[in-house]
């Protein structure tokens, strides 16, 4: 059991890293892009905006610690 737990902890660290906010923002950003893309509106601006906002929020959170 402890080996399975270690593997899960490793996978979490490997994929999610230090701040889960970034991973959540990426998934949400891609979902919003997919939703907007089904209409006729341009979507190229969504991910740059999401990435910049998530990175800024994550860095400010780290700086406050």
């Amino acid at each position: 059991m402890s080996r399975v737990r270690s593997l899960l902890v490793f996978l979490y660290d490997f994929v999610v890293g230090d701040d889960p906010l970034i991973a959540v923002a990426i998934v949400a950003g891609l979902a919003v892009t997919a939703a907007v893309a089904s209409g006729s509106v341009a979507t190229w601006w969504v991910m740059p905006l999401v990435v910049f906002s998530a990175l800024t929020a994550s860095l400010l959170r780290a700086a406050r610690r």
Binding site: V16, I22, L30, T33, A34, A42, T43, W44, P48, L59
Partner: protein, 259 residues
């Protein structure tokens, strides 16, 4: 600059950074616990990594192009932003710079403190389990990220061989230098390289993620260069912002005496 050149550069730089870290660990294990155990650990890790690439590569390339770009874009963004976040925190002074000399010293101290298993293993002509494990874990963990980058970049560009060549070339260069100097590769500008790789992975991740989610870019492939410039400039802005914030928080407060 063509996509293939950017692909080669991104994989080469990422592999160089991870290669430097792996070589530091293997050097520490080899010098303290014996080369036989350290190199056996390297060989075992390379076998596992090859199996991982062999399993993940065909699985990813079997996906339809839209789903592949979405998965690859998401993965690259997760990795790229982790690298970029750490690089910005280091450049602004919130996190200590990566120092291969210090890491080497720490590894050597830890390996020496682990007892004299290496001596008895050497006398018996067998493998020292501690040296083997440290070397194996070091190469496997550092190599896993490279393997993911090779497979994701390569499959998305329909050019896994070029991505693999870039990774192998980087590892060969790093190993050759490591063998020549027999010391941690502390002169490699690792922090700057990590920053550059973070920018590249994030930019490609934004591009492919958006395309995979059904979006399209004005200007097509030319948007990649614009995204690299965007990521670089915004990251410089964030470094400047955090530096000012740090200077304000560490500046001595003025004392006003009244009367």
């Amino acid at each position: 600059m063509s996509r293939d050149v950017l692909l080669f550069l991104s994989v080469f730089l990422a592999s160089t950074v991870e290669g430097v870290e792996a070589v530091t660990i293997v050097l520490a294990a080899g010098l303290t616990r014996g080369w036989r155990s350290a190199l056996a650990g390297v060989a075992a890790a390379l076998v596992v990594l090859a199996a991982f690439v062999a399993a993940l590569g065909p699985a990813l390339t079997a996906l339809p192009i839209g789903a592949l770009r979405l998965a690859v874009g998401g993965l690259l963004l997760v990795f790229g932003l982790q690298w970029l976040r750490k690089a910005i925190l280091r450049a602004s002074g919130y996190k200590a710079l990566h120092d291969e000399d210090a890491i080497f010293d720490r590894e050597v101290a830890g390996l020496r403190a682990a007892g004299d298993g290496a001596d008895s293993a050497a006398r018996a002509g067998s493998i020292d389990p501690f040296g083997f494990t440290v070397s194996f874990k070091g190469v496997l963990l550092e190599g896993l990220e490279v393997a993911v980058i090779v497979v994701t970049f390569g499959s998305n560009q329909h050019n896994v061989p070029l991505a693999a060549v870039a990774a192998v070339a980087a590892v060969l260069v790093v190993v050759a230098v490591g063998v020549a100097v027999r010391a941690p590769l502390s002169r490699v500008p690792e922090n700057a390289l990590k920053y550059a790789v973070g920018v590249m992975l994030t930019s490609f991740g934004i591009f492919w993620g958006t395309e995979g989610a059904g979006g399209s870019w004005p200007g097509g492939d030319a948007a990649i260069a614009v995204l690299i410039a965007f990521t670089l400039l915004t990251s410089f802005g964030l470094v400047a912002l955090l530096r000012r914030r740090r200077e304000r928080s560490t500046a001595p407060t003025a004392t006003v005496t009244v009367g």
